[in-house]
Amino acid sequence: MGNPPGRPGGSFCLLGPRHVVYGLDYVRFATPAPPQPARPPRGAAPPLMRVLDLDLDVYQGPFDLLFTLILREEVDIFEVPIVEVILAYVEELAATDAVDWEALTEFLVLISSLLELKSRVLLPGEEVGIEDADAELSKDVLLERLLTYRRYKMAAASLAEVRERQRGRLVREPARAPRRVLAPDEEIRGSQAPASLTRALGRLLESHRLPDTSHVAVLRIGLNRQIAAIRRLLRERGSFSFEEEFGTEEPMVQAVSLLALLGLVSRGDVKVAQSSHFGDITVKHVDIQRVALRGTA
């Protein structure tokens, strides 16, 4: 899977290659992220504003972003301006013609994860001094997940470093496909007890056996078939009780029969009568005389 143009290997693409400053000089999305001095001395920047350089292209997930925010930018999780990030993204989205759905999805995942993390940390903050076991637990869990993620990120960096040193180490392709050598006869013979072979074959055959479906009743039912059945009953008897004829059938047969009956009613072929709700239905032929005549003929 190649990356779409403009998204060189990154997981999160907020902006294109442009360097844009958004919203109150608070969040700035930049590519590439410039090396950040530890922290501007207090008082050097306007006291109410801080510029946060974020290049979402380089973050590999919410933990990565959060870790960087906390440790590199020294932002408390309380300070992460998620609404600014979202607004900037929406503006950018409005300005582009084509929507990169994959990037959009990844952005949603990133932001919703951040929101979840932040809300977990923010919520118990109100109750100073009151131990909220669940909240503390989830913060602990968050810390552990951050640390676990960080561990593998560092391991990945080490792998990438090793790989870089391997660039000059090329290996020839195999001269020929390897010969497939069968194990010598004497090694195969007697290597397994016959009983274990029987068991193995048994398992193999068992796994290929079709599942037993005998307990599943096969229903052969159709609307036309039930219409024909009702017509036949009416032809033979002139009228019948639905409960008597279909009451002992499978629910599916009853349902289809009822549909067939309703179809016949709507055509005006039969008359139905029901004395009470959910009571028995009496079915009669509309032209009972003709049936009677046909019966005597």
Binding site: I70, D76, I77, L143, R145, Y149, Y152, M154
Partner: protein, 219 residues
């Protein structure tokens, strides 16, 4: 099989004399192993080499090991030859000398096909250390879906399916390949640096705790 072989762990320097050193291997055996390794293009382990050399009668393991030792000193890693005999991927493998990188890169794609995105490298690290590991486990650690990264690794034959979890859902489990070991210069998977080496420092851990509100900040 590497653990069982009588050679020392250091394959780069000249082999140190050992008490139970095998007698000087026959020249034809050394020559044959050289030919096998030259033709192989993938790591060959001691058993495969011994099997191939045993065309008349079963060859002694020690004899094969001794012949390999001769070859290792003939083609030392980082020596003055254009190629070297390295112990990687559970066996021995001829590869070019890293010192020749610039010249090689003028004519060949010097391993460019193994360039990996950060996402793929992270996923690879997780598979390497936690194998056998499932997709949900990888996503859990990275905090994002890693299917696309995993596909890249499967395509490049760095990762493969190694089985299914014996639990409801029977999630597919992934592990690394011989190609991974070769690409990252590892004799076997146990040669990876211990994961504990990548723990964050105590000061960073404390800082994280503080910023998450797990401890009350001083002042």
């Amino acid at each position: 099989m590497i653990d069982a072989d009588p050679l020392g762990a250091d394959s780069s320097g000249p082999a140190a004399p050992t008490a139970e050193r095998a007698p000087q291997p026959a020249a034809h055996l050394t020559r044959e192993l050289e030919a096998l390794l030259f033709a192989a293009g993938r790591p060959l382990d001691l058993d495969s080499l011994r099997e191939a050399a045993s065309y008349h009668e079963p060859m002694e393991k020690a004899a094969v090991a001794a012949a390999l030792e001769v070859l290792e000193s003939r083609y030392p890693v980082g020596g003055d030859k254009g190629f070297e005999l390295a112990r990687v991927g559970g066996g021995w493998l001829f590869r070019t000398n890293a010192a020749c990188e610039l010249a090689l890169a003028r004519l060949f794609d010097a391993g460019e096909e193994l360039r990996l995105s950060p996402a793929a490298t992270e996923t690879l690290a997780i598979v390497a250390y936690l194998q056998p590991v499932s997709r949900p486990q990888i996503a859990e650690i990275r905090g994002v879906n890693s299917d696309s990264a995993l596909h890249t690794l499967l395509d490049r034959d760095l990762v493969r399916e190694v089985g299914r979890r014996d639990a409801p859902g029977a999630a597919v489990l992934y592990g690394t390949t011989t190609r991974f070991l070769v690409a990252f210069d590892l004799a076997d998977i146990g040669s990876l640096p211990p994961i504990e080496e990548f723990e964050v420092g105590d000061d960073q851990r404390e800082e994280l705790k503080r910023r998450l509100g797990l401890v009350v900040a001083p002042g």
